[in-house]
Subunit: 333 residues, 2 copies
DNA sequence: CAGACATATTGAAACGTTTCCAAATGTGTG
DNA sequence: CACACATTTGGAAACGTTTCAATATGTCTG
């Protein structure tokens, strides 16, 4: 069943059928009705390959996900998937490893799939500086802020990570904690860098000298890494009362480690996380955290991309507000 | 840059270039080398639209995910995504709502995208009976068993849900529990039905009469539903000592509810889950559960599909072994 | 070295659209 | 009613491949 069959059946030419299918003006109401009726009756589906061949482009949007361990990402991909479900676009997912160059890979995939739009989940500035100018289609960086990166076709949607982290640490400080450990972060991750900055700022503004900052233990955003990092911290001689974990998953891993060490949260150590993942509200103790509006970040990213695609919208760099969800894992001392 | 340019540049015809690109026999070593060299030099990428137009099919595989709340699914999609990353196939994800007819939707999407293979995550028998015979491409049902559904081109990979559930409940029984509640399950979900069956079987074989079976509270697989279901159970006059949750997420929700009610797990109530999600190992108390090898289920599903696609492999129905991970949420009484 | 094969290559048609130009039809004006 | 103009329609080329029949080239055998 092709456009040709519809044409034959309705007595119109294929040109007219094509115009009807594409909502072109200059086609009579009568033709439109006759043709649509035949289309519906046969359940005719346009051959996308032929269309794309002719129009040179596709309706593919690529989402490149940088990092295969972050448990937040698959859920975000789901949300984005569901956004595009209602549209004519096809979303194609590509996961790239932590160490890989997400920008180069993005470029390749976009070329292969003839993509017209790009979303990048995670990623870091250096790789963008190296290769992003070769990507010519509208793109949105999700989760990181790219306001000062200076790319013409790159938008970004994120929370203000520095501010969020600062708020978290301030919260601990106000609760009387002074020796606040930083848990997590991998080199080359922009998010880590920003959040770490917030941790430093908060302490500075509270008058703590750089040399008196709490200890740092790196690790990627996972339960396991959080557990291991905390274990290491507990074994060391630093006596911390508060822990700021760069991600909720790490916070949970950390609490698990504390509990395994026979200590209690928040009795012996207070822990605050970052992200606001659902489990946080059900964990025991319930996790105090900086909650990003993951859903809003996703939706807004999609909206901006579509706007760039369909209305030649300008690129934008938006912060989505975060909130501090006070629950049970932080205690005043 | 098209095949034609490559042809012009190398002095061969486009037919020859095409054959080189498709690894056809009957092309000289010399031609192959000259052409590949030019291809690489220009970073030439074949126009998939043109190819698909000509060959009538695509290299698209669809994964239809039935259910947008199950937190396990996005992670499984990620795993499957990563499997196909190494192949020439393109995986296209489609989420369908809990109440929707996943089979009809799958058929539509396959048609639209000219898919050659199909994966379905979740789903229930009735919908398959209604419409699966209209799907003509190889398909694999992931997570459910379809051995006795009788479809020619449908394989399936799952754990033996009935056995798994039975094992879980037997474990509680052996620990001395007699009044064992069943938490979770939605009508029309095959997984729920199977697991519930296991719960019944275990009690029967233990000599418990049907009328003495523990209480059931339904709900979908989510923290929230688990929490609410457990709350309801606690408010009722049934005094259960053991809870079998049909999913880890529900188990965690339940534990949270128990803890909020001032009771302890496993002190007052023992809880066993099902799935083996990562958080289970870090939760407090650490969750005793039936662990499915999610990764293996995913990988095996992909392997079978590819085998059907490339080697005309026969359909298969495989069970992937599960294990009972004993941790801390169940106590002997 | 001629003939018979096997192997390698060419050329052209076809896939199902979109889009542009030209032709046909309709509508309003003086 | 003739003309200009707007609207609608038809026809054909073009997009970049694959594939098949036909042709060219090479190789072996007696």
């Amino acid at each position: 069943m092709t456009i040709k069959d519809i044409a034959k059946e309705t007595g119109y030419s294929i040109g007219t059928v094509s115009r009807v299918l594409n909502n072109h003006p200059n086609v009579s109401e009568k033709a439109r009705k006759t043709i649509m009726e035949a289309v519906d009756r046969h359940g005719f589906i346009l051959n996308v390959s032929a269309k794309n061949l002719k129009t040179v482009q596709s309706e593919n949007i690529i989402i490149v996900v940088k990092g295969t361990f972050n448990e937040l990402f698959p859920v975000m991909v789901q949300r984005i998937q569901m956004y595009f479900r209602e549209t004519r676009y096809t979303l194609i997912t590509e996961y790239v490893d932590e160490e890989a160059d997400e920008v180069t890979r993005a470029r390749q995939v976009c070329l292969e799939k003839k993509a017209i739009g790009l979303l990048i989940l995670g990623g870091n500035k250096e790789n963008f500086e190296k290769g992003f100018d070769r990507i010519k289609i509208p793109a949105v960086l999700v989760t990181n802020h790219a306001g000062d990166w200076g790319f013409e076709n790159l938008s970004s949607v994120s929370t203000d990570d520095t501010e969020g982290a600062k708020k978290a640490v301030e919260f601990l400080l106000k609760k009387g904690h002074r020796n606040i450990a930083l848990l997590g972060g991998t080199v080359g991750s922009d998010t880590s860098t920003q959040r770490r900055l917030g941790w430093e700022k908060a302490q500075e503004e509270f008058g703590i000298k750089k040399k008196d900052f709490g200890p740092c233990v790196g690790g990627r955003y996972s339960f396991e890494a959080g557990y291991e990092a905390m274990k290491k911290l507990l074994k060391s001689d630093k006596k911390v009362t508060g822990v700021f974990a760069l991600a909720d998953v790490m916070a949970i891993g950390a609490i698990s480690a504390i509990s395994d060490a026979g200590l209690s949260v928040p009795g012996d150590v207070s822990v605050i996380g970052y992200d606001g993942i659902p489990i946080g509200a059900y964990f025991c103790p319930k996790l105090t955290t900086i909650r990003q509006s993951i859903d809003k970040i996703c939706d807004r990213s999609c909206e901006i991309l579509v706007d760039c695609l369909e209305n030649e919208g300008k690129t934008r760099h938006e912060f989505i507000p975060f909130t501090l969800d006070e629950r049970q894992s932080v205690k005043k001392i």
